[in-house]
Amino acid sequence: MTDPVTTAVVGSVLNAIVGEMNEALKRSSYSPIIREMLDFSCALFSSDGETIAQDENIPALLGSMAYALPALLEDNADEPIRPGDMFIGNNPYRGGTHTPDIHIFAPIFHEGTIVAWAGNLAHHTDVGGTNPGTEGFANQSIFEEGVIYPYVKLMEQERLNRTILRIMETNVRDPQTNLGDLRAQIAAARLGVRRFGELIDKYGTERIGEVVRQRLSQGEARIRRKLSDCPDGRASATGYLDNDGLGGPPQKIQVTVEVRGDELHVDFTGTDPQMPGGMNCSHTAALAAIIFGVKAVIDPDGEQTAGCVRPIRTNLPTGTLVNPDYPAAVSLRHLASQRITDTLIRALSQIYPAVNVAGSFVGFSSLAAEGRDPHTGRTVVMADDLGGGMGGYSGGDGLDTVDTYLGNVGILPAEICERQYPIRIVSTELMPDSGGAGEFRGGLGMRRVYEFLDHCDVVFYTEQTNPKYAPWGRERGHVGEPASLTLVRRDGDRRTITKDRILVDPGDRMVTITGGGGGYGDPKRRRRDAVLRDLREGKISREAAIEVYGMVPDQAARR
């Protein structure tokens, strides 16, 4: 057994290696989705595929590479793996998340044997398929979701496999971006291999092996201790998606959690069967959603390794929307992922008293428009995803208008939008009264109005338009307001949308309203100065101050 000091020192070096890989990938990537939205992740793995260290950019990718490498090893059992090889894969049915997330894995050799792996995953803007950007709520099978790379060698003994590059560039809408991002991924994986090699030179493989084992068991012990501190118990919660993407009924996610000693059981029995559309959540993405939920509840500042996952037992029944059977479409898995996390947190909150939060907005109201660049006339694709309110918690209000839980993407600036796309952002504002009332108020949602200046082909979608499934309140806190999308044609015709693809004309407007977070605690107990401040700031209306928060009309009138 190795000493805790070596473990900590080597651990710090491992973190620095993934951090350095992360910087290298970001620096040389091509697309804004990687460089600005940070939708990528780098990691190191043990020889049998367990995550040793992973960087932290976007929670949706937390721990999600851990399932790809074992699948890779299985699929290549008969294939000789040599130094300088590198694999590419994106199969959601073999440890992947959804097809746009492309994994790269490089073996790390020492004296002829594989001692570890360096890998990374990056969201490519488009990997082909029916829709620009690949993702689509109406996709009916994985075959609409671009090219699938089944863990084949992208590189053989340092030699790039041109065949794969040519297949890629022939099947996507913007090959230059894909190839640029892929090069960045290769560079980052190589850096990981080199740095790990230096670590081996210093400590030797045996010692590193011991350190890794101890590091994982420390992470495991930390989570077990935290679970032991949590009273044993069992609780269930249900959450719903508004529909199946093709106009079908609400879709149920049912989760039962049970803390028993130092283990946590998470069971999705009772969840609805897989959907005909593209919002199913692949097995790996569902696990990432679970890992995030558990981490947020019991271990927000702990270092994430494979060890942290060991005390968590999961049951994701096959054929359901949280673990669909091949070849169901899964590209828009994010909507279900967010609901999984939200429902899990809701269930955990019933047995874990420290989880004193209300539900957050998980609607992820989005718009993707294909149109012409106002200056050059080139075809351009604009995308914008809007956040909403986080739930209030015992001690504070939820954050207003943020991308919640697994997401963390930025909003499109109005000045970039109008300059690059034939779309004007008319207004961007907080939505008064949208946060669920409570002693600690839910965060506000937002209202953003887009005006189309030219003909565009637009995909709109949102979740949580149904008040029944709006962000939940806690301890007598109220639910948050739901989201809505309204298309206002130039002639004044108004139409409410949940998910649709529409040709719009100049002068048409889209009014997007996102949901507020749930409230925590009885609104009547909210501090009066906080109610007055909200009133002064226009975050709540006078009616709400009087009727919901119980202000005396005189007081509410005073500004």
Binding site: G19, R27, G219, V409
Partner: protein, 681 residues
């Protein structure tokens, strides 16, 4: 010339006085007074004058680095401001990027918006992306808005118009109405404060500028008055976030927010000239204090700058600033074991209160400083020339306590704490270097702060760097840095034109304006023509990209050649380029400098061989145990002195550790350089 540098830190106010003719360097350290920083500054100046024998009339300039703006933004305690903004935009500054400051916390506190929502007022009037007017400004509504803000007694007004960078006419009109209705109230227009495309960063930078201005003006005026009362009649300069200084007049108004990193900037520029004088122009600067370590990068003698920075609460500021990475690893960083039995050091710090256990001022948890005491690296007789006693016993008790939780012996615990802290620092340096593709083998480590030289040699080894440079006063590097900087103006004007079909006349006109402005500013600053410099840059990007690359250029240079260089620079910075893809030129920039005298430190005499003043047992990893180690005093070292490790060199403001296999040489001007001994790798 004789100049004084005065740097206000959280604990101490450092003062240095330099006589350029003799090279005489006098220093003083006095306690800071957070409620009245000027009083501490005057105390420090009095001490340094007394120690040097000069009087106020002998001093030609005073240069000041301040944390007042830094503290105001960190504590969110700024002036009460109002905002007048385009219809539909008042929440832009509150919504921000919609990213969460902390990824995994469900219960995080909302940071205060710099202007309360009821004081952010929308007015009709819209400019399109190309600068054309879609809707005229609603002047009546502006007057109503100003009346409301006047009634609310705001101290300043931020004017934030959409696309004001393409056409600033609405913002200017609003400013005029404000000036009429509220004469004397500061008004900041976004196109003047931060002429960047993207409304959120521009608006928030403008709002922070407006909220700092009413705090900084009285502070600076008060300081000027206090200096006058002390019979100083020289110029007062203030350090800015970009590592350059400005006159007090130019540190106010639309430049107020440039003081946000005034404090740490001196630490990066402080050692540049000294290091260059002995041949090191690529530096990683590492300033380790009580709670944190600041890492900066110097390339070819120039500190690396960037145009964006993040405040601790996640709010971005757009201004030219030095790229400084701060990590929670300092002398007071607390070592702890988590629920899984893993050892961590920091980011929590015992700070100055309760302080490390060895200070015996109430701290009981083991800190990095306590570990250094246990390992014999810090003199238990005391640091700061014996003014601060360190209790070996208290340090040992704290470290032993942690060791019990980890089932480790005391020495193993102590060296473990040091090793983990150093690994964290090395990791942060590697990541900083990776961000720009720097190869650390081409860099020297400038070790500064009270604790930097303790860890410097170990980090040099871990990172394969060339050397460790320790200037004569590493604990006063920031204050010294104040005297090393030039006066600097960063000027920018948006141009927004296409790279392949550029409006060359627009760029020519803009650069001409920038140059004229630079000349005017330097002239007003009293900089003699032969000390002025001006350089131009154009910011380009591929259409569709959000971020730009600044390409250095000459005035009126062929634009085709500049676009060509953009592809090259893009390749260098990001590892790829796309010749043939359309580009756009978004900003014309000019940097104007006014150079002062450079610090010329008095050279030491070559003298006798260094004499150890004593010895003690010091733990070295390289020796796998305690080694009887010679102790030297820095001030007794002559030029060309050579000390082979293991050795410890002590001085008033720091302790320098030289491990076995390395050696220190005292070079020109008393600069100490640690390198690997030949044959040792």
């Amino acid at each position: 010339m004789r100049r004084i540098g005065v740097d206000t830190g959280g604990t101490f106010t450092d003062c240095v006085l330099l006589d350029d003719e003799s090279g005489q360097f006098t220093v003083a350290k006095v306690p800071s007074q957070p409620t009245n920083p000027a009083a501490a500054i005057i105390n420090g100046i009095r001490s340094v004058l007394a120690a040097s024998g000069f009087g106020p009339g002998d001093i030609d300039s005073v240069v000041h680095g301040t944390t007042i703006a830094t503290n105001a933004v960190i504590t969110e305690d700024m002036a009460r401001i109002g905002m007048i903004t385009t219809q539909g935009c008042r929440d832009v500054v509150e919504i921000g990027t919609q990213r969460r400051p902390l990824l995994y916390y469900l219960n995080q506190k909302q940071s205060l918006c710099v202007a309360p929502r009821e004081l952010r007022i929308e007015v009709p009037g819209r400019i399109a992306y190309d600068g054309s007017e879609i809707e005229p400004l609603g002047a009546d509504q502006v007057r109503d808005a100003v009346a409301r803000l006047a009634e609310a007694e705001v101290q300043a007004i931020a004017v934030c118009g959409l696309f004001s960078i393409a056409n600033g006419k609405h913002e200017q009109a609003i400013r005029e109405i404000c000036n009429e209705a509220m004469p004397g109230t500061y008004v900041a227009c976004s196109a003047d404060i931060s002429p960047e495309v993207r409304e959120y960063p521009r608006f928030i930078t403008t709002a922070i500028n407006a909220a700092l201005e009413p705090l900084l003006v009285p502070y600076l005026e008060n300081l000027e008055r206090a200096l006058t009362a002390e019979n100083f009649h020289c110029a007062l300069y203030i350090m800015k976030s970009n590592g350059g200084v400005a006159t007090t007049t130019r540190s106010m108004g639309e430049n107020a927010h440039h003081l946000v990193l005034s404090g740490p900037a001196g630490g990066v520029v402080g050692g540049i000239h000294a290091s260059a004088s002995i041949g090191y122009t690529n530096l990683v600067t590492l300033d380790i204090g009580g709670t944190s370590a600041d890492i900066g990068i110097v390339i070819d003698g120039k500190p690396r700058t960037r145009t964006e920075m993040g405040l601790p609460n996640g709010v971005p500021l757009f201004l030219s600033n030095l790229e400084i990475e701060t990590i929670g690893a300092g002398g007071g960083s607390i070592a702890w074991a988590d629920e899984g039995g893993a050892l961590h050091v920091g980011p929590h710090s015992a700070g100055a209160d309760p302080g490390p256990a060895c200070y015996e001022t109430g701290g009981t948890e083991a800190t990095l400083t306590d570990a250094q005491v246990v390992l014999g690296r810090l003199n238990p007789e005391g640091i700061l020339g014996g003014r601060m006693k360190l209790s070996h016993e208290a340090a040992a008790r704290a470290v032993e306590g942690l060791g019990r939780k980890l089932a480790l012996e005391i020495e193993d615990t102590a060296k473990g704490i040091v090793a983990v802290a150093e690994a964290n620092m090395a990791g942060a340096i590697r990541q900083t270097a990776a961000r720009n593709g720097d190869d650390l083998r081409e860099f020297a480590l400038l070790a500064a702060g009270g604790a930097g030289p303790l860890n410097g040699a170990s980090l040099m080894r871990m990172l394969g760097m060339r050397a460790v440079v320790v200037t004569p006063y590493p604990g006063l590097l920031s204050a010294g840095g104040l005297l090393n900087s030039s006066l600097r103006h960063d000027l920018a004007r948006p141009v927004l034109t296409w790279g392949e079909d550029p409006d060359a006349a627009l760029i020519e006109r803009t650069q001409e304006e920038l140059e004229a402005l630079a000349e005017k500013l330097l002239d007003e600053d009293g900089i003699a023509p032969e000390r002025r410099r001006c350089a131009f840059q154009l910011d380009l990007r591929y259409i569709g990209q959000e971020y730009t690359v600044s390409v250095a250029c000459r005035r009126n240079e062929e634009l085709e050649a500049i676009v060509d260089r953009f592809h090259e620079e893009h390749e260098k910075a990001y590892g790829h380029s796309a010749r043939g893809e359309p580009t756009e030129i978004v900003m014309a920039r000019a940097t104007a400098w006014g150079d002062f005298e450079r610090i010329r430190l008095a050279d030491l005499d070559a003298g006798r061989k260094p004499q150890a003043v004593g010895e003690r047992e010091v733990w070295f990893e390289e020796a796998l145990g305690y080694v009887t180690t010679a102790i030297y005093h820095r001030e007794a070292l002559a030029r060309e002195a050579r000390i082979a490790g293991p050795a410890v060199v002590e001085q008033l403001d720091t302790t320098i550790v030289i491990p076995p296999g390395a050696a220190a040489n005292v070079e020109r001007s008393g600069i100490l350089v640690i390198r690997e001994e030949s044959g040792h790798d």
